[in-house]
């Protein structure tokens, strides 16, 4: 028993130095030197101020912007310091009531039924930066009206900002909401 303690303790201490300190710090050093943009969170800056991350969704609510999916983070949606999914089961009454409320909200905003599934469901992270092309399309009329823009200009913008599957196979068609809204602001000027 006792003769096992020396190798156990020594290995834990030594491996902590190697895998717990040297390894992450080396990776941090290389990442910061070679790929600082990614290593610091793929931040988007506008006029020198950070307005968000290209990878993290934001909780747009104004009529002038495209809306993201509902989010399950607390206390407010798209809280990027406490990621969270709803984890509600398919037969949860809370889920049904929440979705019903969102269906009503979207109807009031003039979106046609049936709604794309992502428009009324929360993502796994609560920080999904994307919506489906269908949900973006469904919002075109609302945004165009709020901004006094031609329907076609907004529709074309959604088309341009829609990312397709990589190599035609990998991933899903999607629209990054923050990038779309940034392009929208640029369009209006």
């Amino acid at each position: 028993m006792i003769n096992h303690l020396r190798p156990a303790i020594t290995l834990i201490v030594a491996m902590t130095a190697v895998t717990g300190i040297a390894y992450p710090l080396t990776i941090t050093g290389i990442a910061q030197a070679v790929m600082p943009a990614q290593a610091n969170g793929s931040l988007i800056e506008k006029d020198g101020a950070v307005i968000g991350s290209a990878l993290i969704g934001q909780g747009f609510t104004s009529d002038r912007y495209f809306w993201p999916r509902p989010s399950a983070t607390g206390p407010e949606p798209y809280n990027a310091s406490t990621s969270s999914g709803s984890s509600l089961g398919t037969t949860s009454i809370k889920l049904k009531e929440r979705v019903a409320a969102d269906v009503t909200r979207l109807e009031a905003a003039g979106l046609a039924m049936p709604h794309p599934a992502d428009a009324v469901t929360t993502s796994g992270s609560g920080l999904d930066p994307h919506v489906s092309p269908a949900f973006a399309e469904a919002q075109v009329a609302r945004v165009a009206q709020a901004r006094g823009l031609h329907l076609e200009r907004v529709s074309d913008l959604v088309q341009t900002m829609t990312a397709q599957r990589e190599l035609g196979v990998i991933g899903e068609p999607r629209v990054n909401v923050l990038e779309l809204n940034l392009a929208l602001d640029a369009l209006a000027m």
Partner: protein
């Protein structure tokens, strides 16, 4: 379901198939103590470590000494991690000034990482200092995986050797697994992850001012380095609360592929290494085939179930064409989420890229069932291989009974002693899973933690103990597991699943190593052909799975029927 979706799933398995052989051969060399291309760099580190720790590399251990060394190594690791988590408030590298963990949560978390489970009853970005993440969790991510690999290698030697009293040296096996396999692969994968967009910084967060003028605090940290070993070591404990559903752990479809590829490769390659080390590569492929059939069936079943959508929501005006999107990310969609969910539970990884608790009844049944089969598809690093070998022994035993011959596996006679220990090991899972679930389902303070009432509530409890005892770590997150009851009992289930399982398994190894390795005769049942693969799959399903069926009928299957009937709870 689409052709594209099936193609996405197939591509991943093809990619893994390509690395199984080269990686397996490399790992066989490492495990046999041979020189590798990394020896010029790491040889000195290795020998200095041995000298410092007083390890005599020439001295091998009996199975008892090997297991004792493993238990003490795990115990010391547990104590160190527990202390770190309790006292993180007074330690450096705590930019967000988090307090120390409560005793029960620290107990649960420390056991969770030492047993390679990585169940998360804590939210990473809201609970843990950078020091705890790096020096605590990352270290055990390496060491618990290396421990599993060492045990599997020792078990392999029992078949490779004839009339041997020893199984190798635990300290050497752990050190070489860490230095030659896990560390170099982690460095490569971590850097690729950064290129894909995973953050790697010591800053805790950045505050953004959104286009609508609100403040958004975005958590950051050394994510990429932890994500790499989280996958390679089949650990699964994420930097963030929502694990690899978080865009910073898994920003793109490519990173999703790399995540799954990294978790699957080592476990699959280790099976090939087994074939190489026992001198029968076809045996390695036979085991891999059985694993692949069950794993791919599981993934396909989840994909099918989830692509149908939630019929309760369809009825109130939701278009089902995207499938069940609650708890899933747009960038992954149904196929890539099903792929992740199947692989993470066929392995004992337990990371998730979507919320398993929001899967449909049948879609959620599969991950639970894959864990209950014993985490052998191909299972955790090391633990999957020795788990699969126990099933292989049971299979030849059953085959032997059918034809009335003494069962043999790889030239070793399988007798009463081995069978008793094998049954002892196989019974640990149902005992821990069904026992704790039954008690919790009757205990008001335990039932109070469920998130969705009705059959799904039972599924949440059943999944929790399944995940803990299987050392998986994924969860139906609706269950509020951070209570003294669940922290303690889930901790115990993890301990049972890891150690109460592996001690009898290593006893089998000791007993087999001592036997003569006899060459096969005309009457020997070949264990590297399709007949054996079929038998093995049957044994895994019947012995591993059937005992859970009544519980599954009351949970996920009832949940599915309720959904079809439009019943919410």
């Amino acid at each position: 379901m689409t052709i594209t979706g099936w193609l996405q799933i197939s591509l991943l398995f093809l990619a893994v198939l390509l690395v199984v052989k080269p990686l397996g051969l490399y790992m066989a060399r490492v495990s046999s103590g041979e020189r590798t291309f990394l020896s010029p760099v790491l040889g000195r580190v290795e020998s200095n470590l041995y000298r410092l720790a007083g390890i005599d590399t020439g001295r091998e251990q009996s199975w008892r000494a090997y297991v004792t060394a493993m238990l003490i190594f795990s115990l010391v690791g547990f104590v160190a991690l527990y202390a770190l988590l309790r006292f993180q408030a007074s330690l450096p590298l705590n930019p967000q000034s988090f307090t120390g963990m409560s005793p029960d949560l620290a107990f649960n978390t420390a056991i969770s990482f030492v047993t390679n489970t990585n169940w998360q009853n804590y939210g990473g970005e809201t609970t843990l200092s950078h020091l705890s993440q790096m020096v605590g969790l990352t270290v055990q991510n390496f060491l618990s995986a290396a421990t599993g690999m060492a045990l599997a290698v020792a078990f392999t030697r029992a078949f490779a050797r004839s009339k041997a009293a020893t199984l190798g040296n635990f300290w050497v096996d752990v050190t070489r697994a860490t230095l030659y396999v896990l560390l170099p692969l982690s460095i490569i994968v971590a850097l690729v992850f950064v290129a894909m967009g995973l953050p790697q910084t010591l800053d805790a967060s950045v505050t953004a001012t959104t286009l609508e003028g609100a403040n958004q605090v975005i958590s950051l940290g050394p994510v990429a380095s932890q994500e790499a070993i989280k996958q390679l070591g089949t650990n699964g404990g994420g930097f963030f609360n929502v694990n690899a559903a978080h865009p910073f752990e898994n920003p793109t479809a490519w990173s999703n592929y790399l995540n799954i590829f990294a978790m699957l490769s080592i476990s699959a390659a280790l099976v090939y290494a087994f074939g190489q080390m026992v001198g029968n590569r076809r045996q390695g492929w036979a085991l891999i085939s059985a694993m692949a059939v069950l794993l791919i069936s599981g993934v396909a079943f989840i994909y099918w179930a989830e692509a149908q959508g939630n019929t309760i929501l369809t009825a109130i005006g939701v278009d089902p064409s995207l499938g069940n999107m609650e708890g899933k990310e747009i960038r992954f969609g149904q196929a890539m989420t099903a792929l992740y969910a199947g692989v993470t539970t066929g392995l004992s990884n337990g990371g998730v890229n979507g919320m398993h608790g929001s899967l449909t009844g049948l879609g959620g049944l599969v991950p639970m069932f894959l864990i209950q089969l014993g985490e052998v598809l191909p299972g955790g690093v090391g633990s999957g291989l020795y788990g699969m070998l126990v099933f292989a022994l049971l299979s030849v035993f059953v085959a032997g009974l059918m034809v009335g011959r003494t069962p043999e596996f790889l030239g070793k006679k399988i007798e009463g002693r081995e069978m008793k220990f094998a049954m002892l090991a196989v019974l640990v899972l149902p005992l821990a899973i069904l026992g704790f679930t039954a008690v919790s389902a009757m205990l008001p303070l335990a039932v109070a933690s469920i998130g969705t009432a009705g059959p799904h509530g039972l599924s949440e409890i059943l999944y929790a103990y399944t995940s803990a005892a299987g050392n998986n770590g994924s969860a139906f997150g609706g269950l509020s597991g951070n209570t003294p009851w669940y922290n303690t009992t889930l901790g115990l289930a993890m301990l049972l699943g890891r150690f109460a399982y592996v001690v009898p398994v290593m006893a089998i190894a000791g007993s087999l190593a001592a036997k003569v390795k006899a060459p096969g005769s005309a009457g020997t049942f070949p264990t590297d052909g399709p007949l054996f693969v079929g038998l093995l799959i049957g044994i895994i399903l019947i012995l591993g799975g059937l005992q859970f069926f009544p519980a599954l009928a009351l949970g996920p299957i009832a949940d599915h029927l309720a959904m079809l009937a439009g019943q919410s709870f």
